[in-house]
């Protein structure tokens, strides 16, 4: 199922410029939101090859990627900013924020992917909320349990994965 979801999303992503993703999300949400709207990690990864170095403390709520964060940092729970703790399931879906990189000054789209299937870690709880929208903009709501595509809606912690440049 995970693989299926991923494949579908990748296809969606291929047909879309990264520039237009937020707009597309808006349209999809406003219309018929029947597909998990995925962070499109492979495409964005390729776009990031020439990215600037990062700086800051990834275990601090102030780390740049966490501008829209809500939950426990996986880096404090046995994972990392981009990895889930052992035994949890990284959701193929996420809410999406946009954060300014401290070095290159550009805005990046960040996917806040939940790690699911174990109870809350509770460590390093951060709530920053930049870009957080109410439920009617589902994809931008950090209060949603983003475990769609996994086998459990209990969240252990949350990652912050770069999806690509916003513009």
């Amino acid at each position: 199922m995970d693989a299926l979801v991923e494949r579908v999303t990748r296809t969606v992503a291929m047909r879309t410029s990264r520039r237009g993703i937020l707009g597309m999300l808006g349209k999809l949400i406003a219309g018929a939101m029947v597909l998990p709207l995925l962070p499109v990690e492979r495409v964005s990864a390729r776009a990031n090859t020439a990215e600037a170095a990062e700086e800051g403390d990834p275990l601090s709520c102030d780390y740049w990627r966490y501008c829209g964060f809500d939950g426990s940092l996986c880096g404090c729970c046995g994972g990392s900013t981009t990895q889930c703790p052992p035994g949890t399931m990284m959701s193929p879906t996420s809410w999406v924020g946009s954060c300014k990189h401290p070095i290159d000054g550009k805005d990046y789209m960040i996917g806040y992917r939940d790690c699911c299937g174990k109870d809350q870690c509770g460590r390093c709880f951060c709530q920053n909320n930049k870009g957080d929208m109410p439920l009617y903009r589902t994809q931008l709501d950090n209060g949603v349990t983003w475990c769609f595509g996994t086998a459990s809606f209990v969240v252990n912690c949350t990652t912050a994965v770069k999806l690509g440049l916003k513009s």
Binding site: G26, L28, I29, A30, G31, A32, M33, V34, P36, L37, C61, S72, T93, G117, K118, D119, Q120, C121, G122, F125, C126, Q127, N128, N129, K130, G131, D132, M133, P134, L135, Y136, R137, T138, Q139, D141, G143, V144, T145, C147, F148, A151, S152, F153, V154, V155, N156
Partner: protein, 392 residues
């Protein structure tokens, strides 16, 4: 209802019978009774809480007497449950998600009917396992029709729909799809409204079979979600829903007509207040008091995207006159607010401990809305209460 739940009831029954058959002469023995509650009072409130920041698994619904500020009891359920009280005040409904192995395993979603006096389960119905799992567990995720016969449960897969449960027969009737729109805002005997991602509202009629019979959507957005999103749950005063936005605009919507009709937006703030950075915020920043045509908003001073920050004051607005009529300074910052519906209404405000901040106890503050006077506080609230409601 499970066999075990029945045997639970049976045990309770036995205890009661046993207690009643004790001879009247000697003083009643200690420790043979389980309390029952009297009828729900106008100042009782119900708080929905996950078990804490360390657990999402065991949602609590805490019952509090807002007059004496005493803790009356609780329901405990599953993962991010939601709850509501029946119009006749006899039952509390809780929609829950359970996994067979705690945080994993087979998922079961269920609506449980609790006797409101015994806070004990009387029946349950299994619903499709796709309940919306969101924080806060707000009242637009679970709603009753005004006659108390049908219960609507919001789903999110992330496609959106509402499961319709017939509470009389304790059966799932069907499912109403609301593509692109979320929330159950009851606006008529068999009608609810949902907010859509483009800033419109959709009005959905359904029948006793739990089927959608009509839907009408606004032609134009009544607010701009990109520029100034509104909080999901409005204050409903009469036929008008008052939505409040991140930037303190008020968007009235008249939902006595289909599709609902947007009124003229107005700002809660003077220019000076705007310069001071006042904004609404919290998990439950807005409550209405229909008899007075008033609404109450948790306000803080903060920058953009501070919409979940705890409020330090409650500002009271007259919907008719479009202006602030009172301002209550909170002894402790609060994230949730509720106003009772009686003729001497109380304002309740939940304070949560500040995460990573100086430790403050979880508490429920009480105020008279007549005088604005602080009436006291209930400390040591269990868990992490994120939403508050009263009996309809």
């Amino acid at each position: 209802m499970s066999r075990k739940a029945w045997s639970l009831l049976f045990v309770i029954f036995l205890i009661c019978v046993t207690a009643m058959t004790v001879p009247a002469q000697p003083p009643p023995p200690e420790g043979v009774s389980v309390r029952e509650l009297g009828p729900i009072q106008p100042h009782w409130v119900f708080l929905i809480s996950p078990a804490g920041v360390d657990s999402e698994e065991a949602t609590k619904v805490e019952v509090i007497d807002g007059d004496s500020l005493q803790f009356l009891g609780m329901l405990t359920g599953g993962v991010l449950g939601t709850a509501a009280v029946s119009p006749d005040h006899r039952f509390i409904y809780m929609a829950d998600t359970f996994y067979s192995r705690g945080a994993r395993g087979v998922r079961t979603d269920v609506v449980t009917t609790y006797d409101a006096r015994r806070l004990a389960p009387v029946r349950e119905v299994i619903i499709p396992p796709k309940r919306q799992q969101t924080i806060p567990p707000d009242s637009s995720a679970l709603a009753l029709t005004p006659d108390g016969r049908l219960l609507l449960v919001a789903n999110l897969t992330p496609a959106t729909s509402m499961t319709v449960v017939d509470l009389g027969s304790n059966k799932v009737l069907g499912e109403i799809e609301t593509p692109g729109c979320t929330g159950i805002l009851i606006s008529g005997p068999r009608r609810f409204e949902s907010l859509c991602g483009d800033g419109t509202m959709i009005s959905i009629d359904f029948n006793d079979s739990g089927r959608m019979t009509a839907s009408q959507r606004m032609a134009r957005p009544f607010f701009d979600p990109e520029k100034d999103p509104v909080f999901s749950v409005p204050a409903v005063l009469g036929h008008t829903a008052y939505f409040v936005s991140y930037h303190a605009m008020v968007y009235p919507v008249d939902w006595s007509v289909e599709p609902p009709k947007a009124g003229t937006p107005w700002s809660m703030l003077t220019d000076a207040q705007r310069r001071e950075g006042w904004r609404p915020g919290g998990y439950q920043p807005l409550a209405g008091y229909a008899p007075g045509n008033l609404f109450y908003v948790l306000m803080h001073r903060g920058g953009q995207w501070s919409h979940k920050q705890a409020g330090i004051e409650v500002w009271v607005y007259s919907a008719q006159h479009r202006r602030r009529v009172d301002r209550i300074v909170l002894p402790r910052p609060g994230t949730d607010l509720y106003v009772t519906r009686d003729s001497d209404p109380r304002l309740f405000v939940v304070s949560l401990p500040e995460l990573n901040g100086p430790p403050t106890p979880t508490a429920l503050q009480s105020f008279s809305t007549r005088t604005g006077r602080y009436l006291g506080v209930l400390d040591q609230l269990p868990g992490f209460p994120l939403w508050m409601f009263g009996a309809p």
